[in-house]
Symmetry: C2
Subunit: 559 residues, 2 copies
């Protein structure tokens, strides 16, 4: 796309919707767009031209009949492409995305043998790395019917330690060398909140939840340069997929420092709504309260991420009743009620926002019980976030709206988990599972994300799934529990304006109406008309943040 | 001082010394000053008017005969006051200054009885504080001839724990309650790098160097709001005394976050050259290298502060030969040579600057031995800093220049330590003690600071002492070891342009020549003519940083 400096005076400016006082001397007009955005009430607005000022803030939306402003300095012809707001991912792990991209990826393997081949290949390519670190395996996807074992890594790499995280991050798979370095034996006890898988008393190589750290703590930490590289990689991946903002769920001080370093050197493009990895990190990063918006609305510590349970795949999700496929297990409870209440109070008294991970119905009940107490002191306007809110007891569901809570959900988890969830829960508990429409109809707020790198960060897959509850293969036809499908506008809102609101970013980004940052995508498809199967395959041709083109199809990145 | 908006066109501008390209639309002229600054070569420059631009950067210095620029927007008549660059303190502890100001101050007590009265008074005024924390006591000043004891605090406060730091920060004095909380008994062993003072095997209440932490770790840490309050207090104290920049010696991550919070909310006025409190803090704060200059040249992590020994008063300074007044002691060695070399290499390989605390002649030898190895790899242009460099073996002194080292010294220590140093060292080792002129004549760089809050942060006392080696009472008449006195210009350089160079701030601040930030003081005395006794009493009537008035006599603070 060429930039054309306007030299001749244009016709009289259409000043409808103009923000008064905006400097006129370096405005940019993106013209000839099929413009689509939502306003703060979720109403669809269409436009054909967008003007932003020198600060990258939208000043005007133009309809076809409007005269174009005469005082713009730059004009770009979008040639009829569709312009939509940049996508906001309400739940992701930015550094995780970057580190995943730089580590062994097993997420595409469909069998144990494929995984073993990938491990062997990676070990050969990176022969000087002292540890081989990977993630993304899923024994369910392999149809293995059991966890893999240390010996199955040893068969391809035995001379160096290998540690491989499960797709959901709630289990790790180690080889014998790694267990030797970590001094894991049959006598090693299960840690609180975790479990060492054993066969005949001997550790098999699988470490569940907090047990992962028994081996993980021996992995040398990444150096700051590695972290910065991972951040740059993550940002590149997100911008290429049209994600212009992400809620970072579990920011450590090291993560925060990488974001600040990027901001300090002008390399922070992505907008980050940060949730600290626990209370200590929250205080270390934020001090007496949330940070201001930094770097022109690109970084803010909003609050804290707390964990109440594990994940469904590894049976760490905390259920009210036993697992259908493991009658002696109800999952893992991470915090006592009093611990949770103390943490919630500690955060809330200093205006930190809460983002509480709860997957199982019991964990969701626990956070709702906690919120019932919180609202007594702090009221309902604290944008209490429940992360995942995957399995809700239908009797608990109305309590979300009652306490002013936001369900921060990830549509793609539904398609990934579907058959596993059926096994784990049995038919009776599926009513409140991944229940997007029920959440909306209860009057609660809904924000959508990806949980990347657990799933792909691609938000268009998420929108498509939200509309269909069908996976990439169109399965199951007509959608799984199709009554929980939501409309295209609702899905778009949950990935834009409502995700902004959930992250205290309303009025800053998430919409293209005047006063918001000019964060937008140019795409080939009209997202209001395209069938879900086409939406799923959308690839932005350009990504803009704050009026700056930060990615363009065909380039890995471009200013 | 009134601000007068220039409305009428002035005569043709004197554009000598003008920086080209500076925006003309919001310039400020401070006229009718007795302007004094040093250029980068240390030459004195005089001027009668100073112009700075909208960014707070000096664009012109005007002599009396020069026409005044016609295009300034603001003009201030300084009514003949002397204008000098803001003072740069090359060695201080910013948060320490703030916390000291908020805690019990025993530094003015001249007897144990006075100290006991002050403790009792503070305990009564702050009856709800769980711990009473203070510092500044000096048994030498009290003429006590011994350390004080726990019982001597118990006599005035026995119901709450009390912990009081010695003036040099190298010893702590606890009451019995504090020792009880810390479970200190006769069986508690001396920690490495520290000592519990004992009488008949029983701890007396005095904890030397690393032993301070045996009690100190039980003191509840300050909250972030306390930290921010302490920073604001420190900044206020420094600006009021004409200190516009300080090298912060031993910045923790918590300190750094307070500075950033101040910067993020626009409340950071002071310029901070930061040296992290050890290698871990250096990596946590700086990551892969020093930070950029942040907040318009107000904050940068330059490098790391390392400690090689303790202080002379508590006999922690590491000497080549035994203490004259303690023939079995040579002081404390904090690091083995290999530890030091590892730390030096770790910092230098990532371009972090080294600032190594060395007080005793043996510690100074150790750092110089280390530098001899460092220059093999990293060369001499790394601005290696030796902090204090108090007691140098005269045979080691030439090695400073040989390795390109900077002696970062604190003139007032000389007058505070004089009689104690004579006792500790005896007459033979005093030749290389506080040897400012010898350092300069050896060709090494000299930067001056205060070590506040160990001493007053007032830089004018430092300049006066540097010129006289006499204390506040003019003792000893003619100066202690007067051959080490330096000139007024040399002292001024060490508190301005050379302190900037030592902190990688050259060309940014430390001089009022064009291109530098407009950091200046208005004072009543002509510092080039005033006798040292008058210099000692200088109080700025105004302090400006970056073209903004940040302090004015009569106001505690003003924008």
């Amino acid at each position: 796309m060429r930039e054309i400096l306007i030299k001749a005076p244009l016709a009289l400016a259409a000043l409808t919707m103009a923000v008064s006082g905006a400097p006129a001397h370096a405005d940019t007009l993106i013209d000839n767009v099929n413009g689509i955005t939502l306003d703060r009430e979720g109403e669809l607005i269409r436009f054909t031209g967008l003007v932003f000022d020198d600060d990258g803030t939208v000043t005007q939306l133009l309809e076809r009949r409007d005269d174009r402003p005469k005082d713009v300095d730059y004009k770009l012809d979008a040639k009829g492409k569709t312009m939509i707001p940049g996508m906001i991912d309400a739940h992701g792990h930015i550094m995780g995305i970057g580190f995943q991209a730089l580590t062994l990826d097993l997420s595409q393997t469909t069998s144990l043998e494929e995984a073993q081949a990938a491990i062997a290949d990676y070990a050969e390519r990176f022969s000087n790395r002292p540890w081989i670190i990977g993630r993304g395996w899923n024994q369910e996807k392999w149809g293995l019917g059991r966890f893999p074992t240390a010996e199955e890594i040893d068969a391809v790499v035995s001379d160096r330690p290998v540690l491989l995280g499960r797709v959901d991050g709630h289990a790790a798979w180690a080889n014998s060398k790694a267990m030797e370095i970590a001094s894991i034996t049959g006598k090693t006890p299960d840690p609180e909140g975790g479990r060492i898988e054993r066969a005949n008393g001997k550790p098999t190589g699988i470490f569940i939840d907090s047990a992962e750290e028994l081996v993980g703590r021996f992995v040398p930490p990444p150096r700051p340069v590695d972290r910065d590289l991972a951040f740059e990689k993550a940002q590149e991946i997100l911008l290429a997929q049209g994600v212009t903002a992400m809620a970072d769920m579990g920011t450590t001080m090291e993560d925060w420092q990488s974001y600040r370093r990027a901001g300090d050197r002008g390399a922070l493009k992505l907008r980050i709504m940060s949730y600290a990895a626990g209370i200590d990190a929250m205080i270390a990063i934020g001090g007496p309260g949330p940070t201001p918006w930094l770097y022109d609305d690109r970084l803010r510590l909003n609050g804290v991420k707390l964990y109440l349970d594990g994940a469904l795949g590894s049976r760490g999700a905390w259920l009210k009743q036993p697992y259908a496929d493991a009658p002696n297990e109800k999952g893992l409870q991470f915090l006592e009620d009093t611990q949770l209440l103390n943490m919630m109070s500690r955060a809330s008294m200093d205006d930190f926002q809460l983002a509480v991970h709860a997957i199982g119905d019991r964990a969701n009940q626990q956070v709702l019980d906690g919120l019932a107490e919180m609202i007594e002191t702090f009221g309902k306007d604290r944008r209490w976030r429940i992360e995942h809110a995957q399995i809700l007891d239908t009797t608990d569901l109305p309590r979300l709206a009652e306490y002013g809570a936001i369900a921060s959900m990830q549509p793609v988890h539904q398609t990934s988990d579907r058959t596993m969830a059926e096994r784990r829960l049995g038919p009776d508990r599926l009513k409140g599972a991944y229940a997007w429409r029920s959440v909306l109809e209860s009057g609660a707020k809904l924000a959508f994300g990806s949980d990347a790198p657990v799933e792909s960060a691609n938000p268009f897959i998420g929108i498509s799934v939200a509309m269909t509850r069908e996976d990439a293969n169109g399965e199951p036809f007509g959608g799984w529990q199709p009554s929980e499908r939501i409309s295209r506008e609702q899905a778009l809102a949950a990935f834009t304006i409502d995700a902004a609101w959930a992250g205290y970013a309303e009025g800053r980004f998430g919409s293209l109406t005047p006063g918001h940052r000019a964060d937008f995508l140019l795409i080939d498809e009209d997202i209001t008309l395209a069938p879900p199967s086409l939406i799923r395959s959308i690839q932005p041709s350009e990504t803009w943040i704050g009026g700056e083109r930060v990615w363009q199809s065909g380039n890995s990145s471009e200013e």
